[in-house]
């Protein structure tokens, strides 16, 4: 196994650029901007971080690569590059919405951790080897735990991070044990080789244990019921920009690797059109395998997420429960396990991540002035900050799935891909019907937020909210992105389909 390190460095150049940027932000903040006012420090170092993300994106656009280094340890193909570009975009927006915040004096460290988490996600997307998957998962998670605890003045922040850490550590142990069983059964660490070794073995009992443990570990990462308990507390207690990053970037990367592990590693030989290890969750024709397991998780997530979100009074908690519900919809895309389904899943995850960052950005604006994120604090916001309110309306309607916004097309595409997989007898129709019914329920709580903003009276003595220009521009940009991706989904879908074909999934 001869590797040219220069070649490897070239392949991993985007990741290298982001790591170097993280170090640069750290050094600049420690040496030159230390004595400046916090706001300027955030702007200067934030700009460095943004420049790094843009440089990495430009590198990937200019130098498209297609290679598989070290037997699947690091796979670069058009699909992973698209997902990485999307991840860097989400990182960029997270940095931009955090520039207005005042929760920490350790600005260099904060930005460096965001960038390191982004590097973890980028490696995760490129990994096709269980060792790399575990290590990049841990790099991402460890950075996110610290980001959740970053507000040292707030008790809730440490508590949120601890809960996130305890659940995360347990999920990591489950994933690792599952992966070790997988290695034992196949004698290989590469997903492709694992699949080849499992091809004719059928459903070994040990394989079932491994499968369930891996689904459990990833289920935690994507916050699906019954592994969701950390999410509401982590979202509520963590500083808002950190929560936005946990809800967006980490979700996109985790869903992508979840789908990839299941699709490449767990297919097995085919009998009667059904993959032996995947099984089938079609109505009245259940075949045991991982898809029925994921189906159960998806159903529970959609039901619990949507129903519990209704009674929330904290907007961040409301978004957290809605995130659980959205994880349920996205799991339908994982279950469909076809090339089309991966395209729909990535589209859904990316647009959902973008919308969520926007929604958290608005929450951050309100929170900075009223000191909490209760629904009541949003009362009459449309008269106090019209631009921000308009953005929030776009985000909430997109999350609810109203055409022509991105959220609508995302749902439509995932459901269509699921139905196509179950064709000709539309086996997954029952799940799609349930998902559509539950999205109707979700209208109620999204509109509840909008009702506070547009209909409720302003609290007495409230004055106009002064939102920094930068903040308004960023939120406006995200809102335009959500509208654009919804009106012209082909912008992203076309690229995704072409790259999936090129990657041969």
């Amino acid at each position: 196994m001869n590797v040219s390190y220069l070649e490897l460095l070239k392949l991993a150049a985007p990741e290298t650029i982001v790591v170097l940027t993280a170090l640069a932000a750290l050094v600049v903040d420690l040496t030159s901007t230390r004595d400046l006012e916090a706001r300027f420090r955030f702007i200067i170092n934030g700009m460095i971080a943004c420049a790094g993300c843009v440089a990495a994106i430009v590198w990937m656009l200019v130098m498209p690569a297609h290679a598989n280094a070290l037997e699947g340890m690091f796979v670069v193909d058009p699909l992973t590059q698209v997902v990485k570009i999307a991840l860097l975009g989400l990182t960029l927006f997270t940095v931009l919405i955090s520039m207005d915040s005042t929760f920490t004096e350790h600005i260099g460290e904060y930005l460096a951790l965001i960038l390191l988490a982004a590097v973890g996600m980028m490696f995760l997307v490129s990994a096709e080897d269980i060792l790399m998957i575990f290590i990049s998962l841990e790099l991402t998670s460890l950075s996110l735990y610290i980001l959740a605890a970053f507000n040292k003045r707030d008790v809730n922040s440490a508590e949120a991070a601890l809960k996130y850490f305890l659940f995360g550590g347990m999920a990591a142990a489950f994933t690792l044990f599952g992966l070790s069983l997988l290695y034992g059964l196949s004698g290989a660490t590469n997903l492709g080789q694992i699949a080849a070794a499992l091809e004719d073995k059928g459903l070994d009992p040990l394989l079932i244990v491994a499968m369930v443990m891996i689904v459990l570990g990833f289920g935690f990462k994507v916050a699906a019921v019954p592994f969701h308990l950390w999410a509401p507390d982590a979202y509520q207690g963590a500083p808002t920009p950190s929560a936005a990053f946990i809800a967006s970037g980490s979700k996109v990367a985790s869903f992508f690797i979840f789908a990839k592990v299941m699709m490449i590693g767990f297919t097995g030989g085919e009998t009667n059109g059904v993959h032996e290890i995947a099984g089938s969750a079609a109505w009245q024709q259940f075949v045991s395998g991982w898809t029925p397991v994921v189906a159960v998780v998806a159903v529970l997530s959609m039901l619990l997420g949507n129903l519990v979100a209704i009674v929330q009074s904290s907007v961040k908690r409301l978004i957290a429960y809605s995130a659980i519900a959205h994880a349920g919809y996205m799991l339908i895309g994982v279950m469909a396990h076809s090339g089309e389904a991966v395209a729909s899943l990535v589209y859904y995850a990316v647009t959902y991540g973008l919308t969520t960052i926007g929604a958290f950005g608005v929450v951050a604006v309100v929170e900075a002035r009223s000191k909490d994120d209760q629904l009541a604090s949003f009362a009459g916001l449309s008269r106090r900050a019209p631009v921000v309110s308009l953005c929030m309306m776009i985000f909430m309607l997109s999350l609810a799935g109203i055409p022509p916004l991105a959220g609508f097309f995302g749902k439509f595409y995932v459901f269509a891909a699921a139905l196509k997989t179950g064709a000709p007898n539309l086996g997954l129709l029952w799940l799609v019907i349930l998902a559509i019914a539950m999205s109707a329920v979700s209208f109620y709580y999204y509109l509840q937020v909008l009702k506070q903003i547009y209909v409720a009276d302003m609290p007495a003595g409230a004055e106009e909210l002064r939102v920094p220009v930068l903040g308004q521009v960023v939120l406006g940009l995200i809102a335009v992105g959500v509208i654009l991706l919804g009106c012209a989904p082909n912008l992203l879908v076309g690229v995704l389909q072409a790259s999936i074909k090129a990657a041969g999934l």
């Binding site: 269980i130 060792l131 575990f134 290590i135 841990e138 460890l142 735990y145 610290i146 605890a149 040292k152 008790v155 809730n156 440490a158 508590e159 949120a160 991070a161 601890l162 809960k163 850490f165 305890l166 550590g169 347990m170 990591a172 142990a173 489950f174 690792l176 044990f177 992966l179 070790s180 069983l181 290695y183 034992g184 004698g187 290989a188 660490t189 509401p232 507390d233 509520q236 207690g237 519990v308 009674v311 929330q312 908690r317």
Partner: protein, 101 residues
Amino acid sequence: MNVGLEHYLVVSALLFALGLLGVITRRNLLVLYMSLELMLNSANLALVSFSRFNDNLNGQVMVFFIITVAAAEVAVGLALIVALYRKRQTAHVEDLTSMKL
């Protein structure tokens, strides 16, 4: 007696179960961390024994990485305990209740 793969696997499964039991029943955060470590190390034992019986070294290499990652995880976890302790003067999970529906 001939010690085979299944013996190692049984031990590792027992260790994993013991760790999980600890995480679920213990109330002190430090003990919780130790139980988490036990779960990770049970996976290490499984990996090493699989590596021995599969006749390749991939599993052993993985163990090295996992030990390093586990150390990093504990460092982060202890930092979180310190952050919590400064605010709350406690290291017990029953006291993590400031956020509820």
